[in-house]
């Protein structure tokens, strides 16, 4: 039977077939409903591995200790013991292979994070010794007078 009615039907079938083929090609093979069902479960499980592959930039003080044992011991005995090396020296990724990759921050603003006085008695901040940035040697860097690895000692520049 030959009829003009069939032609749109073929077109529709062709479109459906094209969508199905495109879907097969474009959707990753492992995409599907995970353990959490239709509401929360849809994902591509291989993406979890991709997130685990992100490079670790902050290697922690335990990594620095391998070579800088003296510095590590000094700060661990000081009131600054809880501060990790990388907070001020920058992330250790690329160090020691590329010495320039360390970004040592000697700015006043770095010390200011804790030591610019804020009178917040209901917070831990109010219990930290602090200065008034307007009156306490505003032109100088803190490390001129204070040694950050042990603030009880005088600075060296």
């Amino acid at each position: 039977m030959k009829s003009h009615v069939w032609r749109p039907l073929y077109v529709v079938l062709l479109v459906i077939a094209a969508v199905l083929v495109a879907r097969k090609i474009m959707v990753p093979a492992d995409f599907g409903v995970g353990s959490r069902g239709y509401m929360y479960g849809w994902h591509r499980p291989s993406n979890e591995e991709q997130w685990k592959q992100v490079s670790v930039k902050y290697r922690t003080a335990e990594y620095c200790k391998n070579c800088h044992r003296d510095k590590y011991d000094e700060i661990k005995k000081s009131p600054h013991a809880a501060i990790n090396c990388e907070n001020c020296h920058g992330p250790a990724l690329g160090h020691p292979d590329d010495p320039k990759s360390l970004t040592i921050d000697r700015n006043r603003e770095l010390c200011a994070r804790c030591h610019f006085r804020l009178e917040y008695r209901t917070s831990g901040r109010g219990k930290i010794r602090g200065i008034d940035p307007k009156t306490h040697h505003p032109e100088l860097e803190c490390v001129t007078c204070h040694w950050p690895h042990d603030p009880r000692k005088e600075g060296r520049t």
Binding site: P28, F31, G34, S35, R36, M39, Y40, G41, W42, H43, R44, N47, E48, W51, K52, Q53, V54, S55, V56, K57, Y58, T60, H80, A82, I83, N84, E86, N87, G90, P91, E109, A112, R113, C114, F116, L118, E119, Y120, R121, T122, S123, G124, R125, G126, I128, P133
Partner: protein, 261 residues
């Protein structure tokens, strides 16, 4: 010769003895009970924030941005610290300049559009800092609204975004009641805190936890009864943010007050 009374006694005893299942003789093991109470999974990452200890130094924000490659000068961040100042007139002032990437270095409150408000020390009733990050909810609304299945929750409870699959529609950014999600300025897809999944899955701490010198941030596994974080959550008075949304958030706070939103 067995009497009728004796026969009845002994058969009843026998039947009773057979009825006791072997499991009844097993000793009660609270650890096994805790493990079986849930779904048998061994890990469920949770976070504990002690707002009493936070001093607003912002080292956590700095470390997070560098560790997770969030552009440093863009005004978006996976974690941030809010300052709350409650004054005598009953007003609550909240700010978080640059997400506290550089800490809080002034008594002035950032009220937006480059304007600042000076608050006198004598007017302060209470002032404190609250770190914020993704709550890795048990019922994550951001995952529910994703139309393409680009964001999902792993078996250990962390909500991740598939960057190659996200279409950037922004539903999840709207759906998150905690405002944790944003568009990544480089990849142009949804971005969020994932408890440094690459670090915790290697047995390390998150970058923000390592950067915190005051112990205000801690990450732990709530399925491990010996985890110090689990012990605090189970025994001390912890609270969560916006419980009324039914998201079952998994970031627990010590020292929250009603002013914290």
């Amino acid at each position: 010769m067995i009497s009728r009374r004796n026969f009845c006694k002994k058969s009843l005893l026998m039947a009773g003895g057979l009825a006791i299942p072997l499991a009844a003789l097993e000793l009660f093991d609270p650890k096994r009970l805790l493990a079986e109470k849930a779904d048998g999974k061994k890990t469920r990452w949770v976070f504990l924030v002690d707002t009493n200890k936070c001093v607003g130094c912002g080292f956590c924000v700095k470390a997070c941005k560098i560790e997770n490659e969030v552009p440093y000068d863009a005004n978006v961040t996976r974690t941030w610290v809010e300052r709350y100042i409650v004054t005598r007139d009953g007003k609550t002032h909240i700010d978080s300049p640059k997400g506290a990437r550089d800490g809080f270095e002034t008594t002035k409150i950032d009220i937006g559009e480059g304007k600042f408000e000076e608050i006198k020390n004598d007017d302060i009733d209470k002032a404190f800092f609250v770190p914020k990050l993704c709550n890795q909810c048990d019922n994550p609304p951001c995952v529910q609204v994703c139309p393409v299945g680009a964001t999902y929750q792993t078996a250990d409870g962390v909500v991740l975004v598939d960057r190659s699959w996200c279409i950037g529609c922004g539903y999840c950014i709207m759906g998150c009641p905690y405002g944790v999600r944003f568009f990544h300025p480089v990849y142009h897809v949804a971005e969020k805190c994932n408890f440094c999944y690459h670090r915790i899955s290697k047995g390390m701490q998150t970058a923000c936890v390592d950067a915190c010198a005051f112990g205000a941030r801690r990450v732990g596994n709530i399925r491990d009864p010996n985890d110090p974080v689990t012990k605090v959550i189970m025994t001390e008075r912890v609270n969560v943010l916006k419980e009324e949304y039914g998201t079952t958030p998994q970031v627990f706070y010590l020292g929250l007050t009603k002013e914290v939103k």
